[in-house]
Symmetry: D2
Subunit: 377 residues, 4 copies
């Protein structure tokens, strides 16, 4: 079990880091590209060791603590929170897929050398070409299609290996500093010792928790965006907005419609946060069950994650678009950068289709069928 | 602190009671009037002593347990759950407003003699005529306007006292067996020993928790309706509904739109339940603080209750109306009585206006002002 | 072309009839059963001849006029408006399916003898047992399955023929006086002259307008319910409602939230009405094209009808449920019967599944594919 | 009355212009600033004379035709459509406020010299500093506060007059090429002959139609954005999108959820367009009534405009944000520029607060009170 102090300390560090990221978030969103300085600040914070077990020298935080940190960072900068969170997803992948020797070796080095993990995992891609790449990493997890066994192989590689060619071709209108891009591998030879998932391996239910960890990262990034947008709206309304032309209120914050709508936005954010917290606890419990985790138990965590993701998805989109109804036209000035919340939410919530998640949830609620483990559930 | 076994036992008893009430709920809703037999079954269950402290011979359940029981009963029959819950509100009133002697006397008798409490409290009514009355009670709390001190007096009276005249004039299209009605008091003389709130008394923040207990009862009744409707829909869809004419699914439960919509309803119910649970815990903590409770602390509980009530309000109305979109036309047959969920939700959610609650919540979120204690907050 | 005076006269007569129906609508909804007196009043009004062409002695109203009358009646009483509208659907069926001789014979008699038409048409039922029957009719259209040709036959029969057995088994919680029920035919022999659709007939696109006429009847019934509920809400709010407890307005009608919400309901009703009007004009044009009507032209009318029906569906449900948010608790008194709007809307909108209509509309908008003619489109 | 051919010709010209604008809209949105070339193309099209009466050499189009053109242009480029529409608002201002001599002089020159009108009208600004300026204009309408009469004066001025100083300080994240900015007037002397509204003038109800013309311009810009976004979504879905990972459809356009949602967006766009068309006809009728127009008649047009604006507001925001749910992640690539619809809608819909418009509409619907003429209604 985790030391409760870890959680308090991690959140305090995250708070400081978030304040720092917030100060430059608008400018960096407009610039796009690679945030080298900020990534170094994350590295310096020590939070890259957050989820590494204490036996490997890490902080040994549990998943609820990790998600709280992700959410906090995403309020300030959802692109860097994304990079941060996906580093930990790779740490978790080593824990879920790797052999004890690999865990000891890689996670130890992660702590000692301050490795930043990225990934080029795409189980749906059979051209050995991953479609996402995180630049500026030290070590990459990647997947490749193994024709003979008709299965995916997962391995780790030094990100600067000469056979790894990366392309900074991410050009979406949101989540601009996530260092996403295309990675190509040309005749890369991977030593057996670096293979986490060998050809033909069937993953245990526990190993497939990886997808749920990943989906709950998205959830908490969405929530962070929603919360960041909500706070930015509060700041505008209470400090800068003027009452609407036809309003009789002396301050925008006292207009009955502004108050009503603001409450409405909160009623999207708060329940989504509670449901996400519950999902994180349920994921933590499943993690702790170990290899005995049954398909059913794993499936029920998947359901909890779908619930949380659906609510966070809506909260992020609605709050980030509706906030302007409350702040009025002045808040649309480009230097304020308040449109970044919607752009980030809009781009990031398209990771996988919400409607089919609803269908999976409905199927469970009606017929008790849990979602099949896969790349998105 | 409460014995955890109390909660388990109470919920088990409530489950049995709920099953019993469910069996006749449709017929009794159609008949309306006084449910004498069912009230006796509630009395027999021992649950009238649920919130009475153990020092007075009760079960000493905490408020979260109480609300879980209310919600469970309301799934089966929201009218009788209402009667049950308001009994406990009067028990709480004795605890919050009464002197130690009154608590010992009345709560002891409540347990020993199986008293069912009702109320004719209406602080807004200055004609000493309460507008709501619960029939078949043993003991009533009531309020009256004291002209000299320009304040309300609250006292308890034997419900069969000859000066108390009751009128079963409740005729709403929902919540039909709540035994609501009008009570008139003609020249009733109340001994000082039976007065809980004397003329001119200023209630402490803790005493004003009464309104929040009451508002959270409404919340859990709404939630129970939403959950009852949700379960009824599941039953219909999985057992009785046929696929829609243009559907290609072989069972209604496998239609992609049915699955999607059903998930949508759940995403109203589940977060509302989590937020209500959180509000109940926050109310319990405030209760335990005792007379030291500050206005601010009290106000933050009020905010938590508003959040919970707003979500439960919407869940109850939406689930009870939309369920038919999923079940199809057969579910509108009168003998099934599935319209009762909407009728009960619709009538009960009008207790106080949701929009002004949203405004109070927005004011708190924007300017940090907590709602003023009153009859509705 | 229709004489414009016809439309004005018909609407004036409908107005008078609607006022008369409104006076007893609440009581009759509560009683259920057969509204003999009111059906006689409809007969007396002359409006049963509304859509009968002038050459057969009728008023020769066009479809937009007919739908305006249906909507007007439905504001007062959507069950009797239903009975009235389905009479005209059978008149239209004689026009669309029948031979000139049949049209002359039956429509002439309809006018001269004041026939009220009902139907027991159910093309999906292969047991020759229609599942819907309208009581108190003079003449029925019915369908039966012809095994040899694997097709439906449609014919007319005197409703009092001894081989026709009817059962008043309609027991839904809404649309209670529609005289729906089950009809059984025992060894009924139909003369060839009374067969409208012979075994194996392929209907022309024009003949399949019947379904669209029927769907647009539903649409206008929903709209009438929405408009009736809206007017009832206005009446309550402006004359009877008190401001909400926490409101600072001196009249409910002056509360800013009441005004806002009321506008919101109107913004459901008004656009639905405009779209329904447009669909009626498009249907009228298609009707006037005659047998040359192409599948594509017919399909575009089908799309217009889906659009109108979807909007009317939502307007009816939302207005009839949300109106109470505006009127407050007093409006839930049973004698006012204001819940009938929701009950009628809820039952009637389940005629066919809205989601699959949305899908048909989306398919048209994306790929230009018009809905296939059938029992519901 | 207008020659029907005018409308057909104008729409054909607008179509060509829209196609041309569309080809560069994404690039120009990203560049921001002044679109000199495109403004010249508008000038060349002859459409600057669209609403100038034929007696002054213009095309004499009616307002419904004008709005159809605005909407068509806005589908392609809502910033340039804005510039185009506000030119015509100034033409209308000359017609509504000006003397016959002024109309003849200025409108004649508008046609002969191809004037582009802009405005610096801001009746709420008492510092003689208008807060909006459209660059690249030939002639400006502006307002100034007249201290002695405590009223606004409106006059026209050559935009290149040395006393007129303009500042291109518009920096919102949407509607970027509207040439908005701040105009300052330093010791400008205006000849009496150029004053349209003299100090102390009370505007007739007809003259106050100007605000409604302006509000209906906004409405049609919003609608154009909604329609442009809808068409862009269709293009993406049918040509470029892949089915969602968990979908069983072979094409995105055949996924049942995509079809359903796409229909849902259309059901926002289409009714909004019908209601806007109706408002345009009602405005045209009021315009034709002339100076006899009563306050009540004017007020009913105001109500029609509020209805249209509220629906268009919602359609623009919802379609422009939700379209991505349908197209999937690929559509977020910056070069496609599909986020511009939301950015344009979001910035432009904040012109004035929607909630207070709803309140005005509700007040009319409940108590029959028409909105008072003003800067926003």
């Amino acid at each position: 079990m985790q030391n409760p102090q870890v959680s308090l300390d991690a959140l305090a560090v995250a708070d400081g880091l978030a304040r720092e990221l917030a100060a430059t978030a608008v400018a960096r969103d407009q610039a796009g590209g690679h945030a080298a300085h900020e990534r170094q600040r994350i590295r310096d914070s020590g939070l890259l060791a957050l989820t590494v077990p204490r036996e490997h020298g890490g902080l040994g935080a549990d998943w609820p603590t990790f998600y709280a940190v992700v959410r906090r960072l995403a309020q300030a900068d959802s692109a860097l929170a994304h990079v941060f969170a996906f580093h930990h997803l790779q740490v978790a992948t080593v824990l879920l897929y790797g052999q004890p020797e690999q865990q000891a070796r890689w996670l130890g080095q992660t702590v000692r050398e301050g490795w930043f993990w990225g990934n080029a995992l795409n189980p749906l891609d059979k051209n050995t070409t991953a479609t996402e790449w995180d630049g500026g990493f030290d070590r990459l997890l990647f997947s490749g299609w193994h024709e003979a066994s008709q299965s995916n192989v997962v391995a780790a590689v030094d990100a600067r290996h000469p056979a790894v060619a990366v392309q900074a071709d991410w050009n979406a209108f949101g989540q601009r500093q996530t260092d996403s891009g295309t990675v190509r591998f040309e005749h890369l030879r991977v030593p057996l010792a670096d293979v986490l998932v060998a050809p033909g391996t069937t993953l245990s239910p526990r190993a497939t928790l990886r997808t749920l960890l990943s989906q709950l990262i998205l959830t908490n990034l969405y929530l962070g965006i929603a919360q960041g947008a909500f706070e930015a709206a509060r700041e505008q309304i209470t400090r800068h907005s003027r009452p609407a032309p036809l309003s009789t209120a002396s301050r925008a914050a006292e207009d009955p419609y502004v108050q009503h709508r603001f409450a409405g936005l909160w009623l999207l954010v708060k329940p989504a946060a509670l449901v996400a917290d519950e999902a994180a606890r349920s994921l933590q419990q499943a993690f702790e069950v170990g290899e005995a985790l049954s398909e059913r138990q794993r499936g029920e965590v998947a359901v909890a994650v779908i619930e949380a993701k659906a609510l966070a998805h809506r909260a992020a989109l609605e709050v980030s678009s509706q906030l302007f109804e409350l702040t009025g036209a002045r808040a649309t000035a480009s230097p304020l950068g308040l449109d970044r919340f919607w752009r980030n939410a809009r781009v990031h919530t398209l990771h996988d289709a919400i409607d089919h998640k609803h269908r999976d949830l409905g199927r469970y609620l009606l017929d008790g069928v849990v979602p099949a483990p896969g790349s998105y559930s």
